[in-house]
């Protein structure tokens, strides 16, 4: 029996919940938009997104923030459904990185 890394309800030691308000970054708003567009097109469902987060590497899951997990889930589902390949995504990221990344 193994408890998933997402299923932490009732575990001790989680500490208080950070209830402070914070502004969303541009990329987080974009992540939300991509997610909604894929849903509206019938390409993915919320349940698939949840399952993709549950299947992530546990250390990576813990290290990521909320929208980073979304992005990783979207990537996993698009690859799984053969809409994009990992190679295509990595190539495009490298392009962005060389154009706008930190020197």
């Amino acid at each position: 029996m193994a408890r998933g890394h997402h299923d932490v309800g009732g575990l001790p030691g989680a500490g208080p919940i950070d209830q402070s308000q914070h502004e969303l970054s541009d990329w987080e708003i974009l992540a939300d938009a991509v997610n909604q567009a894929l849903g509206a097109k019938g390409i993915k469902r919320t349940d698939e997104m949840r399952r993709a987060r549950e299947e992530m590497d546990s250390a990576a899951y813990r290290d990521m923030n909320y929208y980073e997990r979304w992005i990783a889930s979207i990537e996993a589902i698009l690859i799984e459904k053969k809409i994009l390949t990992k190679d295509e995504i990595d190539r495009r990221l490298a392009e962005f990185d060389s154009k706008w990344g930190e020197p």
Partner: protein, 107 residues
Amino acid sequence: MGRAVNASGGKFKPGDPVQVKFEDPPGHLRTPWYIRGKTGWIERVYGEFLNPESLAFGRDGLPKKTLYLVGFKQSEVWGKANNADKLLVDIYEHWLDPAAETGRGEV
């Protein structure tokens, strides 16, 4: 007790004592760990919905599953607790077994 959204279908009715299965099959599971094995009661029948544990893998979600709002004594779930409060959890029928009582718990 809450009003049923769709009283038809489903093998439990409001007030029925139920126990959540303590199972851990592989896959996307819609019942959180902390409530597995706990005993409570049917608070409300929501009706039938596509099975999210099937939709999660790109399948059709059929057959539909009846979803319930299930009530638990706080003490049943967390040990010593204030039973003036209850805990309410959405649970699909295939996670529920009939039970004799609606949960023990120390008050």
